[in-house]
Structure formats: structure tokens, C-alpha cells
Amino acid sequence: MNMYQGVRDALSHAMMRDDTAVVFGEDVAFGGVFRCTMGLAEEFGRERVFNTPLTEQGIAGFGIGLAAMGHTAIAEIQFADYIYPAFDQIVNEAAKYRFRSGGQFSAGGLTIRCPSMAVGHGGHYHSQSPEGFFMGGAGLKVVIPRSPIQAKGLLLASIRDPNPVIFMEPKVLYRSSVEQVPMDDYELPLGRAETLVAGSDLTLLSWGTPVYHCETALHMLTSPSDALAPYVPQSLRSAKVELIDLRTILPWDAETVAESVSRTGRLVVVHEAGRTGGVGAEIGAEIQKRCFLKLNAPVKLVTGWDTPVPMQFEKFYMPDPLRILDAIIETLTY
């Protein structure tokens, strides 16, 4: 199963178990522009899987209304780049619905799915990673999976979580990540990071697509190509780097990250979004607070630059494996 199939499978399980669950957004009825809702309209009927007019603020507002009535609303925003018209509905309304009504009403049944991150040729508006903008949205959860198994388990947990969740699906992985996904209904916990590779010398933290770039960078560290060999000191090649997938951006798993950094003394955070005001800044501040005495090097951020995502320059914009490798070397040799 690839990732879009994992998403589709999760939606099917969610709708099977819960009669109030509906799936809606732009072009979802015929299967969605990324095929994530393929066959759902046939399986569950047009009353439960339907197109909306092209209005993101409307989609989010409509979903909040359904959720306020205790229904399960699974909305799709076609690209994360187009979530901003719904920012007001998400941050002022969905996030605060429970708090402001003294717990009488809630938008907890709302999940907003949106394809995010770069795809190689998406330019400004088909590449963005807006998770950082939602980090201050107290009342929201923000979740990003890295693979089909993760997507299915985390999406089911997001749909059933009693809080509004923004679920960002790295679109380049829709077809490229493939693995054996359990057919049954299962959930993965929100708010928990996952340690993918154990290590003791440096903590490498990321989410979504760059998790794979981190893996590549680790491979380049242990066995660099002949051309790169001169840049990778022999002494570092056996370094044990701990790789963590954060999975949930809000609320993020500070405990797991801090525990890791306390052991390794070094942290590199990798994300596609620009640096200033990004998620890495928040994590860096919290980790320096928790691990001040344990840190052997400054927290290093490998991120997109503070520019819009540029069409013909994407290779130089993205936190690619080489930039990650360089950050690891710099941090280990600080």
C-alpha cells in the first residue's frame, strides 16, 4: 500500500465505524486530485462523500458546524498552500470553540487533511509547509505522517481525537512511500515522537518528507561517496546518530526529544519550512531550556531559507541530505 492508499483506507475505516462521519472538500467525490478518496463516494454514497464549492473558509466553517453538532467532519484542503483563507475559521473558531464556550460546544470532531511539503516542481503554492503558522493555535493539534502505516494509524487517531486536528500529508510520499500496511483498524498515538534509529552522539529530529533525507544523510555519513569522502572525517563515520520522527507538531513530544538530547548532547532539527518563526525555533528554545547543561553544541536548524519556495531553485532551497550531512558534521565537531 502506498500513502494515498493508506489515507484512503483510514477514511474508509473511519466512515464504516461512525455513521456521522462525512468526507468533503474540492473534487473529493471523484476520488480527489491525489486519489486519496478514490471509491469512497461509491462505497458510502454522495450524502457522505461530496464536493464543496471552491471556498476554503467555507469548507473549514462547514466542518466546524458539523463538529459542533457532534458529527465527525473530515475536510480536505486541496493543498496546504491554500489553507490560509481558512486560517480565521481554524485559529479563531475551531481552536477556541471549546474554551470560549466553557466546554459546552466543541469542534473536536473536525479533522482537516491537506497535502503539504515540496514535490519537486510545485513553486510557491504547491510546496508549502505551513505547520509553523498553526503552532500558536492553542486548542489545535497538528499531525504529519511519514509513511503509509503512519498515515493510516495517525489519521484514524486524528479523526477520533476529541480536538480539531490539522493532518498534513507530504504529497511527494503519496506514491513514493510503499510498505505493508495492516488491513485492520488501528491507531497510532498523537503527541508522541518515534525514535527510528537509536544513537548516543547526536539527535537528529525531523518530520514528513525530510525524515528520508535524514536517513540518506546518515548513510552518507557512514559511507560517503568517493567525491564526498574528503569532507567526512574518518572519526565521525562511526558516530551514532539518533533519528527521531516528531509526527505531532502540536502538542509536540518535548519529553522524548529532551531525553534524547540529554543523552547525546547535540541536536539538529530539519524541516522544509523557512527558518524564522518556524517549528525548529520553538523546539530549539525549549530544548536549550531543558538541556542547557547537557548541550555540547548549539542547536542547529536545517530548514528552507526565508524565501518563498522558488520554482527553479528547489534543489538549493530544500534541506537536502548534503545540507543535513554538513549540519551533522558541524555539530559533531563543534
Binding site: T52, T55, F62, D88, R100, P251
Partner: protein, 446 residues
């Protein structure tokens, strides 16, 4: 993006199109002359004609009225079949509003509550519509609709508790500004300040009602908003959604002529809000918002259509905001005092309905005095009670951000505030004074 377009058109719209064709002055076309336009049933015409009105030839949409300024039924108007009890209840609920408004406005002026918004002049629109709804229709308001809650039995204590933010404030637990009421029990969704956000939400609420076997065909979602809020993108979104994803959603626009200082003439250039309804394929009516019987009739019929057809209906109630926008506004900075005085005198929704009642022997000056005195007494009692009540425990501030397990950041921040209050709570005067106002005086932290 090129989008697929539905080629079949609902029968109602086809019927509408053919009616227009018959009544218009353009030459008639046979069906095969309609051409092959893929996205419309529009007939083809060789005439280069622009239009700028939904009523034809530049006419504006008429305003539906039942009783005139003296409370007499208009010729040809159908007076709703009200029994004395219902008519009296409508008048009484209307009368309560300015009494509450006067008291709370003054309380704000004395600095006892932070903020208030009156609904002077809009009493007929609010109570007339509330009376036409089922008590369990889901209401999403803007902020000038306290009357709907009162109609449904919201107590004076609840009003005061919310405005004062006492520990008995169930509506917002002291977390929102005054007049941001809400009651799950009374099917009134909690008010929020951002304008128009409730409009697309109402479409979702309507759709949920339609999907609920216990409420389908019985209830609708009702959304109130001002003519200023209708300029927000969310109005467009909400109208679109409730029409294309058919949902029983009743849109009630209070067109009171002003959005804070901005007159309606600077808010739109078309024929008010009602002219927009047909553009969305929505049944629409404009009604005299100062005539409670017209509002009652129109909203009752709008609700019936809304539920029967499972589709959106729009009601634009024309009224006048007699009061200031809020306690933070002095409206005489942008409109002459005399204009307001004239309005109050010439077209008072309360006086109109009172004359209607008196002509039937259903109300008298003595009853008026006794009723007002009783309400004033009860409101003052609730006010005095709320004034004495402590605010919620300080700890309440951190509750209900999330459901389920409390995230670490909120737990840690609560601990941090505890530490600070423990350390400085009695030494730092601004905190010491404030702590005394809260239930438990912050002792849960110490």
C-alpha cells in the same frame, strides 16, 4: 483550474427560468434556440442588454409589512393567527430587552462590567423571529440576539453571570467578553467576536440536522448577522454551501443601516442583502424589521420552506440601530442625534405592536407599568446577586483548551503560574487585589 460542471439543472431552477422568459419583454425563443451553453439554461438573445437588479427595470425588492406605524393591519395583509397569550408573550419579551439594555448599559458606564451592546430598535426583528422558530432549532448568532435566548428561557441570572464573568457563568466560564452568550440546553451556539464566521458554520449545522434521523424534517439551523457582516467572505461561503450542499439553513440578516460608523451606503452598492439571495439560488424575502407581525409571518414561512425543501432561505429584516454600536462607541460622532430621535419617535417597533394589542384589548397602560416594574425588579435582583459573586477559580483559565489529556505545555504553564502566585500573590498589589475577586482567592495554587 478547469472544473467539471453539472449539466442537469434542478427542476425548480428550470421552472424559474421559464417564468422569467414568459414575463420578460425580450422575444421568445423555442427550446432549440437556447443554444448549447454548457453551464447554464440561459436563453440566447441578440440584444446587448445589461441589467442591475433582480426585480427588473431597476426596481428594488419590496419590503413585506403587516401592520402600519399605528398598529393597524395593512389592506390585504394577512395578520397571523395569534392568540392573546402568544401575542402578549411576544410583547413582553420585546419589552424586556430595553429594560435589560438600560440597566446593563448603565452598569457598564459605572465601570462594573467591561463592555455591553444594546439591541435598541431591533426588538421586533429578534423577538418576532425567535417566536417563529421551534425552541430546539439551532441558533448561531452574531451578538445582538440576546432576545432569542430570553425567549427560550435564559434567565436574568445567566445574563448577569456571563456579563460579570462570575463562577456561575456556564456560557463562557468567564472566558469571553460580555454579551458572548451561549447555551447548549437552549440550542444557542456560543457567540464569538469574529464577524460572519458563524455563517458557513450554520450550513454545516444544517447539514448535520438533515443527516440526523431524529431531527431531519423537524429542525433547521438559524443564523443571524448584520448587513456589515454580510460583506465578509464567510457570508458568500455560507450562502454558497447551504445552497449547493442543500441544508436547512435559515439566514436572517438584521439590516440596521450601520456597521459601527459605516452606513449601509458604504457597505454595498446593490439592493441590500436580499438581492444577493437569488444569485445563490436561495428563496429570499425582505421584511419590515420593525413590524413584529411581518417578521413573525416571514420567518415562520421561511422556516417551513427551509425544512420542507431542505434548502437555504434568506430573510433580510430592515430596521434601524437606535443605540450606539457598543459601549465603546459614541454614534453621534458620525450621525446626527436628531436623526436617531426621529427614528425612535416615528417608527418604534414596541409602540407599533403595543397599539395593535391595545386595539384588541390585550394590553393596557396599567399592565405596561406593572410589567416593567416587575422586570426591572427581577433584573436588579439578578444584577446585585452577580455583582457579589466571585469570578471562577484562577485555575479555570487553563481548562477546556483541549479535551482529553492535558498537554505538557499547559500543565507546565499552570505550574509556573502557581509558583509565581505563591511567591508574589500577597506581595504584589495588582495580583493581590485581583485574587480576592476569584473563587477560592487562588488558594488552590498555594
Amino acid at each position: 483550474m478547469i472544473r467539471a460542471v453539472r449539466t442537469s439543472v434542478p427542476t425548480t431552477r428550470r421552472a424559474f427560468a421559464s417564468r422569467r422568459l414568459l414575463s420578460s419583454s425580450v422575444p421568445r425563443f423555442s427550446a432549440d434556440q437556447h443554444g448549447h451553453l454548457p453551464t447554464t439554461q440561459s436563453p440566447i438573445t441578440p440584444h446587448l442588454e445589461f441589467f442591475n437588479s433582480v426585480a427588473g427595470e431597476g426596481k428594488t425588492i419590496p419590503t413585506y409589512r403587516v401592520i402600519d406605524g399605528a398598529g393597524n393591519p395593512l389592506e390585504g395583509a394577512r395578520v397571523p393567527e395569534l392568540d392573546e397569550a402568544l401575542a402578549r408573550k411576544m410583547y413582553e419579551e420585546m419589552t424586556k430587552l430595553p429594560i435589560l439594555d438600560n440597566i446593563l448599559y448603565n452598569v457598564q458606564r459605572q465601570g462594573k462590567i467591561a463592555f455591553y451592546m444594546t439591541c435598541y430598535g431591533e426588538e421586533a426583528t429578534i423577538i418576532g423571529s425567535a417566536a417563529a422558530l421551534a425552541p430546539d432549532d439551532e441558533v448561531l448568532g452574531q451578538y445582538r440576539e440576546m432576545g432569542v435566548l430570553l425567549w427560550r428561557g435564559f434567565s436574568y441570572d445567566s445574563v448577569m453571570n456571563q456579563c460579570f464573568g462570575t463562577h456561575e457563568d456556564i456560557a463562557t466560564k468567564g472566558k469571553q467578553m460580555p454579551v458572548h452568550f451561549g447555551s447548549r440546553e437552549l440550542h444557542f451556539h456560543t457567540i464569538s467576536s469574529p464577524l460572519a464566521t458563524q455563517i458557513p458554520q450554520a450550513a454545516g449545522v444544517g447539514y448535520a440536522l438533515k443527516r440526523d434521523p431524529l431531527r431531519r424534517g423537524k429542525n433547521c439551523a438559524v443564523v443571524y448577522f448584520g448587513e456589515g457582516a454580510a460583506s465578509e467572505g464567510d457570508f458568500h461561503a455560507g450562502m454558497l454551501l447551504a445552497s449547493t450542499i442543500p441544508s436547512p439553513t435559515l439566514f436572517i440578516c438584521r439590516n440596521n443601516g450601520f456597521a459601527i460608523s459605516t452606513p449601509a451606503s458604504e457597505q454595498y452598492h446593490g439592493d441590500g442583502i436580499a438581492s444577493r439571495g437569488p444569485g445563490y439560488g436561495v428563496h429570499t424575502i425582505r421584511v419590515d424589521g420593525n413590524d413584529i407581525l411581518a417578521v413573525y409571518n416571514a420567518v415562520r414561512e421561511a422556516r417551513r420552506r427551509c425544512i420542507e425543501e431542505g434548502r437555504a432561505v434568506l430573510v433580510e429584516a430592515m430596521t434601524y440601530r437606535v443605540g450606539h454600536h457598543s459601549t465603546s462607541d459614541d454614534s453621534f460622532a458620525y450621525r446626527p442625534r436628531q436623526e436617531v430621535e426621529n427614528r425612535k419617535r416615528l417608527d418604534n417597533p414596541l409602540a407599533r405592536f403595543r397599539m395593535f394589542l391595545e386595539a384588541r384589548g390585550w394590553w393596557s397602560a396599567e399592565e405596561e407599568d406593572a410589567f416593567k416594574a416587575r422586570v426591572k425588579g427581577e433584573v436588579m435582583q439578578a444584577l446585585k446577586r452577580a455583582e457579589e459573586l466571585p469570578k471562577p477559580p484562577v485555575e479555570e483559565m487553563f481548562n477546556d483548551v483541549y479535551a482529553g489529556e492535558e498537554p505538557w505545555n499547559i500543565k507546565e504553564q499552570k505550574e509556573e503560574l502557581k509558583r509565581l502566585l505563591k511567591k508574589y500573590g500577597s506581595a504584589y498589589e495588582p495580583w493581590r487585589t485581583e485574587l480576592r475577586k476569584h473563587k477560592g482567592e487562588g488558594k488552590e495554587f498555594v
